[in-house]
Symmetry: C2
């Protein structure tokens, strides 16, 4: 395989199948927190495939403020959403509420026959995540989970290099995602990301899941066993993991060692070392992924204009809906992450390696 071939059209939308539609896919945005307002709304404003049809919040006034900004047709509170008001205004539902409420909002979407794009992690427990998948399956609606790295060109090119043997046999993965959540997301010590009931965990499920899931994606492999260690020295993180280190063994024999933190100097990378070479995403997960490849003593760093991963994620999902094919990563794929992070927490408590079973 030729490296140049992989990289000639680095940022190409190799998943795109349909032309710009006359009628964009209209989304109901459910949960208008930091991520939806700061990342998703601008991405959809720039999109030719998607638009905001409805905005849904626990707060009617917040919904109305965002409706004005987005020119959405409807602003709904949660009760109105669950009651099925305004379903004519949207074709699909984007769920970005606290993790432990994803099931409820996705189930309502399924009841209304709407396709679901659900933020990661899919839910706060394996049991609720499984029910979420079942509800969408039973209703026959498409379900995708928002792992935006799957449409990140640098990650897609890395996956191709691994698949085509550029690294030889992959042997070891390293990954990290660390941030100061108070600086990046919100200064509020009571934000839901630090609430064990609403978030189901913190550093691991909010951040560590990026290197975990992206490793699965680039290796095209799934975890068999996992183990980890958590620490929460600061008061604000009582009940959730502030820092986590974890190891995952994959079904192709590769092992990953990763760290994540909600309160540390920012860091993000994913590094796959093989018998003959290495591929590194760094930066990786904060929306500016860049790829570096090495073999023997040669190193090439590809400097490409970052794409808007959120826009690409929504456009890909819309492309699948318009084309009538199933989007991925789907619910079954995302369940593996929920089972793996649950295994890591269990391991941290029990001091044992835990099998990741389906």
């Amino acid at each position: 395989m030729e490296l140049a071939e992989h990289l000639a059209e680095f940022t190409r939308r190799d998943w795109q199948t349909v032309d710009v539609p006359d009628e964009p896919v209209r989304f109901a945005l459910v949960g208008l927190g930091w991520w939806a307002r700061e990342q998703v709304v601008p991405a959809l404003a720039a999109s030719d495939y998607c638009e905001v049809g409805a905005v849904v919040s626990g707060s009617s006034s917040k919904a109305e403020r965002v409706r004005e900004r987005t020119e959405a047709e409807r602003a709904l509170d949660y009760e109105a959403y669950h009651d099925g008001e305004g379903t004519d205004a949207y074709d699909a539902v984007y769920v970005a509420t606290p993790n432990a409420t994803h099931l409820d909002f996705a189930a309502t979407a399924a009841d209304h026959g709407k396709a679901v794009l659900c933020e990661k992690p899919m839910e706060a427990t394996v049991e609720r995540a499984e029910r979420l998948v079942e509800r969408c399956d039973a209703a026959g609606v498409q379900l995708m989970v928002g792992y935006r790295m799957h449409v990140e060109p640098a990650a897609r090119r890395m996956r191709e290099l691994v698949r085509d043997g550029f690294l030889g046999d992959p042997a070891l993965v390293e990954g990290a995602m660390c941030q100061d959540v108070f600086a990046t997301v919100s200064p509020d010590p009571d934000q839901w990301r630090l609430d064990p009931d609403l978030a189901g965990g913190s550093a691991l499920v909010d951040l560590g899941v990026y290197p975990l899931n992206t490793a699965r994606f680039v290796l095209d492999a799934d975890p068999t066993h996992a183990q980890g260690t958590t620490a929460s020295p600061d008061e604000a993180f009582a009940g959730v993991d502030e820092h986590v280190s974890f190891e995952v063994a994959f079904d192709d024999g590769v092992a990953a060692a990763c760290v994540a933190s909600q309160y540390a100097q920012r860091r993000d990378h994913l590094t796959v070392t093989g018998t003959e070479g290495r591929a590194t995403l760094k930066p990786a997960f904060f929306g500016e992924a860049q790829l570096t490849v090495e073999r023997d003593d040669a190193e090439a760093a590809f400097s490409v204009e970052p794409v808007d991963e959120v826009r690409a994620e929504f456009d890909y999902f819309a492309d699948c809906l318009l084309d009538g094919r199933d989007p991925g990563p789907d619910g079954e794929h995302a369940l593996v992450d929920v089972r793996t992070t649950t295994a890591i927490y269990e391991s941290a408590d029990a001091g044992e390696r835990v099998a990741v079973t389906s």
Copy 2:
């Protein structure tokens, strides 16, 4: 603390106490393999504090060849060394034989009243490592283990930055050391580094011990628990670990996630992420350490001329002997690494986190 203060005299020998002696410390080099011949002999040729007094090998002809090159006073085979021939020709013994034989050669040195500089890992099992320490203690000879990163200026400056709070509270450590042992050390598939009886392990004890021990050094902390996963997909590594990933929990609450490989694209780094900053050694362990520090959005990469770590290690040891003080890392320090790597292997077999006990 001022960063400039830490770095103004980056490569200073902050451990040096004595002037260049009229009579350098004379070493017996025991074990004339790749490392001793290619790294140690040139380092001692350049040293003002040390010289080669005797060379000791299982092969008389190899010993004689190296004696000619080094102008050492004596060339000895192992029998002659154990019999105490030529002890007038050296003041101290450097042991660089296969790991599982360090005890025997160090014990003989102790019997002859010679100080011991023993290569890492100290021995192949905890029991033999403990006996090595006991023999040196009982004979009243000084024992140091060859963790050359302790005299590496970049690692020493990193330790100062951590100690002085530049990173805030250290939270997570990442580390890696990967090489192609056939390209770096020897193409021989039967080399002792791949022999379970002689080496007591491979990727972990030969390479992984670098990020492990250097993390201990820069954090000034010791492991409490360890876990790991090993893999040996290639035939040449039957019986030893070709690849390893491992996690270590330290007594200050920090966790480390590391990888090491004897057969992979070369890689080496040690990264400590704290609540307020980060310090990175990269390159780290192959003799060319460089330090990068980050805080908030600022990053400083210090480009300094690498020192000869092996020469510094011998000079430091000689300085201690000439000054009459005890060198470090000593046997008790190195025992912790042997206990930790043993715990990681036990964890890999048992699938459990293993306590590191003294």
